[in-house]
Symmetry: C2
Subunit: 222 residues, 2 copies
């Protein structure tokens, strides 16, 4: 553990860090948010680790990657570290988001309050089913996904969430990419492809649950 | 790439493999399912890699971990590899699953067809809201989550999905653990804790979307 305090992100390294590290940073961010809520001034790597079920060494390694170093015996300044991680994760600004596919998952996501709390504003919801057009979910009216290109541009959307059936997913993604979308969270139960420069994250609930059956199946071997 | 064919999982190694590897195995499993659907007999690591947007070296490494080796120039036997991965992931059997919290996400999950297709049967749905008790979602009737222990035992549930608000999550988890649940998929937007021997996977939609803002924020640095 280094005793310097250094605020700038190491740009060349930021591009290389793994998804797992980014997810941990999101967790540290939440830990720091609640530390701010309880008026804590400093926090140790041990505390951050304990709250998140990790080792202190892991926390220090993740944070040093971004040039954030605690002071031995004092730990990290909560406000500084919160601000740094916020910038790294792009949470110091807001993002306009659209959802394509207003079925059960789409509706659940529209109503998911944490998105807005973290700066992700759902501005547009679309579906290919004409029976749904004009219906409202929360404050939003379901639009025709054929009008995607025009609507995405008008609403200055940068991030799209795809929650359509597997058979429609790639067509929807192609249309979103054509509309200028650069980041896609895909809940359709199929891997989708996008050109270089467009970041895709495939979320498959069935794959998540398989990690549980894997753990139960292999548990006796541990 | 080794030319032997070896069917048994290396038990001592299975316990150590990362979540990321397990997720990739789930993807290979889907690739093999569709290969079986198109009557393919063999498949190369290159093909599996291309379909999943990975390198062939990564695929070979992941599979060799479990003692599955293709034959140079021939690749893997589709049926053998499918059966092996199925056993590794615990998909050669069925699992009874309960859902606690029948809000938007809970309802979406009850109706998520892929769970059942992969052998995960949702047998029980529970909520703490008495106004919901007796309502049906699909074929299931919403039960009182206070009766968790008795219901989980009666239905021989092994896996639980938690989709309750953050404030209720830990209490629900404690009750599930008390009822004998050994694996939990948590959608509540808070990290939850369980004793050793209970496997928990925290799924936080807001954390997923933060990996997109991270990618967009750090893109220009690449």
């Amino acid at each position: 553990m280094n005793s310097r305090t250094q605020n700038k992100t190491r740009s060349s390294e930021a591009a290389k860090i793994s998804d797992a590290t980014v997810k941990r940073l999101s967790k540290y961010y939440r830990t720091l948010q609640s530390a701010i809520g309880s008026n804590k001034v400093t926090i140790s790597s041990e505390e951050i680790a304990r709250i998140n079920g990790l080792t202190a060494a892991q926390v220090r390694k993740d944070l040093s990657f971004f040039g954030a170093f605690g002071r031995r015996g004092l730990g990290y300044n909560v406000a500084d570290l919160h601000r740094n991680i916020s910038r790294i994760l792009g949470l110091h600004r807001t993002w306009n988001v659209c959802i394509v596919g207003v079925g059960n998952i789409g509706r659940a996501l529209v109503r998911f309050k944490q998105f807005q709390e973290q700066g992700f504003y759902i501005k547009l919801i679309m579906d290919s089913d004409s029976a749904k057009w004009g219906q409202t979910v929360g404050d939003l009216t379901i639009e025709n996904s054929e009008d995607c290109k025009e609507l995405v541009r008008r609403e200055k959307i940068r991030i799209a969430i795809v929650a359509v059936p597997a058979s429609a997913a790639q067509r929807v993604v192609d249309r979103l990419v054509d509309a200028g979308i650069k980041a896609i969270l895909n809940f359709a139960p199929v891997s989708i492809f996008a050109p270089p420069g467009v970041y895709v994250r495939n979320e498959n609930m069935a794959i998540e649950i398989e990690s549980l059956s894997f753990a139960l199946t292999n548990k006796s071997r541990k």
